[in-house]
């Protein structure tokens, strides 16, 4: 059994690439062939990864595979190795879940577009790139996958190139993404020069206790490279445009797995390969960037007028949570960060799908032109509300649990180290959470509630094939929120364990005893104690709420047609909205009008941020370079 399992990671990646070629060859003209090929290869990949859950997570094994059977010679890894431990698999599950649902959604969502052969080719390339990045055990292979991912993502950003700004945003993504890739490549070259190996397990054991100035520079460069890939502020600039102009099925993939790939790279390289996260300076650097990211992301989101652009800035903000949590460097922090990464995949995917549904039904995502869709698309509205409540962290949805873990981790880190910085992180995280809620209230009001606008008059509920992924995501949001303890013990704790204990990872690849010889120590990670409330209480509460809702619905029976004033003079306004006696007319409080009491006080800040997001790729490159310089200098000063 084990022997078959060994091949699964590589089959999962290769089937996607194979699918990409086959779609291009056979599926260019015929719709059915194209869809069947795509779905088959996506399904193969999905099943391969799901099958790995049992050995890797439940039995705690590490699965390794040498491409071409090139095993290490004289203790040096030559071939490309694929290695799956709980951390990889955790991210791989998120990746396969995202692209499978996105593929199902694409079937109907993209049907009105041309050149769908190219779309599915690029889609499968992107999926394969991210999955390969997540599963590979070779740092150069990781870089190759980053490149495949970036270029497929750039092409998909510009896929609807008839849309205004699509090409421009693809260009921005290309430039900033290339800068990031360039940094990564340079870093990897430096590492290779120093250590003469590219295998991450071996690198880990070599780098564990031997830092030279070269490897520190490499660390800084790789930090920047994956910072760009995870769209950390100030590298976030292309994300907002790319998420907006890409089709929603792709936006979902971007926020569900492309920026997770950056986070994965960050965790894998900083924690496991370089083992740097026990250094205070690195922790503060990552946590500080995370905090800035979450704050800038959410404030920019508050100022947006476009549904998808707003979601894009929220993606940036939520990644800030993940990075800040990982930057704490404690087990609880990393668990919280991973959990939030997972939850972000779920709720942000859901929200992008809702945005896609709105676009499908109305042809626009402009918040000022939408309104009153909850009556036309009630199911989408419910899904959206679930997603919005999850991302705002309302109990009992999933976002709450991970945010709770992050606050706990940040505060306890602050109390333990007596460092006020972490208290600051906690406070910002809570305030950002409220602002997240605020901006989703804005979307709810502007898109789903209120009175239907012109654009929404003829909107219809989206087809079933688009609703199924939305329902799955919604269900997962709620289930993960309720059975968080199950997720914690079965997914997060093994993954966190893999983050802090590289021994298994190294030994499996390089032969047992290798890690101990290199002096890699081992620590035991206890499962995070989560007991914020009891499931029993929750169930009882659920029953009570259900009963109450039933009563509310029963008492709210409408009695139509009874007008108390004289029938001859009646104007029948009983069920009309109250306008001080005026005839009800279309007047919708749209999104951009909300929160001015808040924005007015922050006028200076918003003006500054608006100026900074000039849309000029030169400016954005400049920010990237300045931030890179700062990171390199900080790492050089503080890391010895």
């Amino acid at each position: 059994m084990m022997n078959i399992m060994q091949h699964f990671p590589v089959i999962a990646v290769m089937s996607l690439f194979l699918g990409a070629f086959l779609v291009e060859i056979f599926g260019r003209k015929n719709k059915i062939v194209r869809n069947i090929i795509t779905m088959i290869f996506v399904a193969i990949s999905f099943l391969c990864i799901i099958a790995l859950i049992k050995p890797v997570i439940l039995d705690g094994e590490v699965i390794s595979y040498w491409l071409g059977n090139w095993e290490p010679v004289n203790g040096y890894a030559i071939g490309i190795g694929y290695e799956v431990d709980a951390l990889n698999l955790f991210f791989a599950i998120l990746v396969v879940l995202t692209f499978t649902l996105s593929a199902i959604y694409s079937l109907r969502y993209m049907e009105k577009d041309d050149h769908l052969g190219h779309y599915y080719t690029l889609f499968l390339m992107l999926s394969g790139g991210v999955l390969g990045l997540v599963l590979t055990g070779d740092i150069f292979n990781m870089y190759v996958m980053v490149e495949i991912m970036t270029f497929a993502a750039v092409a998909l950003t510009a896929f609807r190139n008839y849309k205004k700004g699509a090409l421009e945003s693809a260009f921005k993504y290309l430039v900033i993404g290339s800068v990031g890739s360039g940094f990564t490549l340079t870093g990897i070259c430096l590492v290779y020069m120093q250590c003469h190996t590219l295998n991450m397990a071996q690198l880990s054991s070599i780098l564990a206790n031997h830092l030279t100035p070269t490897t520190i520079l490499a660390l800084a460069l790789i930090f920047i490279g994956f910072g760009v890939k995870s769209f950390m502020v100030p590298f976030h600039t292309p994300a907002a445009d790319a998420y907006t102009t890409a089709p929603s099925s792709i936006s979902m993939v971007f926020s569900g797995m492309v920026n997770k790939a950056g986070v994965y790279g960050m965790i894998r390289l900083m924690f496991v390969v370089f083992m740097m996260m026990d250094k205070t300076a690195m922790q503060i650097l990552l946590a500080a960037f995370g905090t800035i990211t979450m704050f800038v992301g959410v404030t920019m989101a508050l100022a947006q007028h476009d549904f998808k652009r707003l979601l894009a800035f929220h993606s940036i903000s939520q990644i800030g949570y993940v990075l800040a949590a990982c930057g704490l460097g404690t087990a609880l922090g990393v668990s919280g960060g991973l959990f939030h990464a997972m939850n972000h995949t779920l709720f942000k995917g859901l929200l992008f799908l809702c945005a896609g549904a709105v676009y499908y039904a109305t042809g626009t995502t402009n918040l000022d032109k939408l309104g009153g869709l909850s009556k036309k698309m009630p199911k989408t509205a419910i899904c959206f509300l679930i997603g919005a409540f999850s991302i705002s962290g309302l109990p009992p949805f999933n976002g709450f649990v991970s945010k709770w873990m992050i606050y706990q981790a940040a505060w306890s880190k602050g109390v333990e180290t007596n460092n006020f910085f972490y208290v600051f992180v906690t406070i910002v995280a809570v305030v950002v959470s409220v602002m997240t809620l605020a901006s989703f209230i804005k979307v709810t009001q502007a898109v789903f509630f209120g009175q239907p606008s012109e654009k929404c008059e003829n909107a219809k509920e989206v087809p079933l094939a688009m609703r199924i992924p939305m329902w799955i995501m919604s269900a997962l949001c709620i289930l993960v929120g309720i059975f968080y303890n199950f997720i914690n013990t079965n997914l997060l704790t093994p993954a966190t364990n893999a983050v802090f204990n590289a021994t298994n990872y190294i030994d499996k690849m390089m032969g047992s005893g290798y890690a101990a010889a290199a002096g890699v120590s081992e620590t035991t990670i206890e499962p995070a104690a989560l007991s914020y409330w009891d499931p029993i209480l929750w169930l009882i509460l659920f029953v009570i709420i259900l009963a109450a809702v039933c009563i509310a619905i029963l008492t709210g029976k409408r009695t139509r047609g009874e007008v108390l004033v004289n029938k001859t003079e009646a104007v029948d306004g009983k069920y009309a909205t109250f306008f001080g006696g005026e005839k009800s007319e279309h007047s919708h409080v749209s999104g951009s009008d909300l929160f001015w009491g808040f924005k007015k006080n922050w006028g200076g800040y918003f003006k500054f941020m608006q100026g900074m997001h000039s849309g000029d790729v030169n400016d954005y490159s400049l920010y990237t370079v300045i931030a890179s310089a700062v990171i390199i200098i900080v790492i050089f000063i503080f890391i010895h």
Partner: protein
Amino acid sequence: MTVLIQILLILFHVLVFPGFLFVFVCGLLLAGIDRKILARMQKRVGPPLLQPFYDFFKLMGKETIIPDAANKAVYRIAPIAGLASLVVTMNFIPVFSFSSFSFSADIIVIIYLLTIPAVALIVGGSASGSPFAGVGISREMVTMISYELPLILILLAVAKKAGGAELCFSLSGIVAWQQSTYLGIAHWSLIPAALAMLLVIPAEVGTQPFDTAEAETEICEGPLIEYSGAPLGVFKLNTAIKMFIMTSLFTCLFLGGIDTGIVALNALILFAIDAGLTILCMTFIHAVTARLKIEHLFKFYWTIVSGLALLSLILVWIGL
């Protein structure tokens, strides 16, 4: 059998004490006291003490009109969701040494549970489809952003004071700490936080001068404009319960050291303290001030109130 007893016990906690029935009576009584004392402060006779009960039962008997522009499901569910979360919140706040559930009641959970009633009001108002409600929810949301920052600062200051070098996020832990030393308010470094908390309470409850969101004279009660009958009654009940819960939270954080050992007596003392706090921070401020504009409200909370709370947090942090 033990499971059955446990479930019955939980049901008792959720439905009777300190759950629904307890907060229902105490909340509405507090609202009655608030109205009566306000009237006395204005040299009026004022409504009877049980006036909020009359209001509630009257609204239960009124017709519920759901406007055509409203999303019917959300419109109906919103008030109930708010009420349910308030009942749960009360279960997490210990009545001095008595707390209904053994597991740790966390201040982060409390913060988030307290946002749900406000979110219910916002979403319900938004779902009713009126532009007045649109303006109202915007103000309610800004009010929420305003008081959330000082609230978290206050809670962190108290948690740090109670825990010292350890993590103490649980309210029962804070109460136990006060019983082992002395009342939270007696620590002078926590006094600014207590003052800030007194100012957070009226905003959280939404009484004048922080009732900008429901300004009945300018935007026709904001989010509540289209509500009538039973759902409106539940919203009014939510406001009253929030009054009780916020003052109980204050009691728990700063006056939690009192303990007579008898639960009923404890509950009575809690109610007495809450009534005093209500008069102090809601009735009194209501009687002497006029409604703030929303941008002034935001500024007030993010400068003065947050400043007080931050001062307290820093004092506690440096070990005073």
